[in-house]
């Protein structure tokens, strides 16, 4: 069974190595992700309207702030769920 896992993982490594040859270079301006019309828009608007150097923060917390609000609620809900599930045993020695 160990050898099956090893063979599977080696096959995955080979697949990833083969595929990675086709990936675009870092900071390649003609990469598919950079050819979207949104890219230049975000870069320009961050400089003009927000004036902070980190474009990622600008997108995350300003242009896409609804998304970040949802993420925060997801984490908050996870905390609440763990709290509700595990709270039962808490303080049971008081009974």
């Amino acid at each position: 069974m160990k050898w099956v896992t090893l063979a599977f993982l080696m096959a995955l490594v080979g697949l990833f190595a083969y595929v990675s040859a086709d990936l675009p270079d870092r900071a390649d301006s003609s990469a598919p992700a950079n050819e979207s019309h949104l890219t230049s828009e975000f870069i320009e608007r961050t400089e003009e309207q927000i004036e902070i150097p980190n474009i990622v923060s600008a997108i995350l917390a300003d242009f896409r702030s609804y998304d970040t609000l949802g993420e925060t609620f997801v984490i908050f809900t996870a905390g609440l769920a763990v709290l509700l599930v595990f709270q039962r045993g808490y303080g049971r020695n008081d009974d």
């Binding site: 309207q49 004036e51 902070i52 995350l60 970040t68 609000l69 984490i75 709290l83 595990f86």
Partner: protein, 153 residues
């Protein structure tokens, strides 16, 4: 509930070097989130790891004096609340939800004598909310998942 480890080397290294460094680094990542990689999520995770390290080495009994579970539950709600309120306040001043342009924070430029746009400050306020929420939620997760259930017998 984690046990206290009675090793002086462990206590010295974690209390004097590791935990303070991790906490300060987390605050740094939060404050520098606008200029360098970082932000509320990452800073919250780093600071939470510092607190969890304190709980692991010093034991939950000692560490919970500083960050009790009841406080953390309040804090996580407060963090989400900061985000939501930062979204609602612009609506009172004629903007859309989460439209930081309408946030009444430009007076802060006169105090700090440093020109920043309202949207940059809105981003920072929101990051603080995310930071508090993530930090306290992660510590809540640790505390409840390591709770020792008292046996009845």
């Amino acid at each position: 509930m984690t046990e206290r480890h009675d090793s002086i080397i462990l206590h010295f290294v974690s209390r004097v070097f590791m935990v303070p460094f991790i906490l300060v680094f987390g605050i740094y990542v939060l404050i520098h989130g606008e200029a360098s990689p970082g932000g509320g999520f990452q800073a919250g995770a780093i600071v939470a790891s510092g607190i969890v390290l304190g709980r692991l080495t010093l034991g939950s009994d000692h560490s919970e004096n500083r960050f009790p579970i009841s406080l953390l539950i309040w804090l996580s709600s407060l963090g989400v609340g900061i985000y939501v309120v930062a979204g609602v306040i612009p609506m009172l001043f004629g903007g859309n939800y989460l439209d930081y342009n309408e946030l009444p924070v430009l007076w802060f430029n006169n105090v700090a004598e440093h020109a920043r746009t309202a949207r940059a400050m809105g981003i920072f306020i929101v990051e603080i909310g995310v930071f508090i929420a993530v930090l306290s939620t992660l510590v809540i997760l640790y505390d409840y998942l390591t709770l020792r259930v008292q046996d009845d017998d």
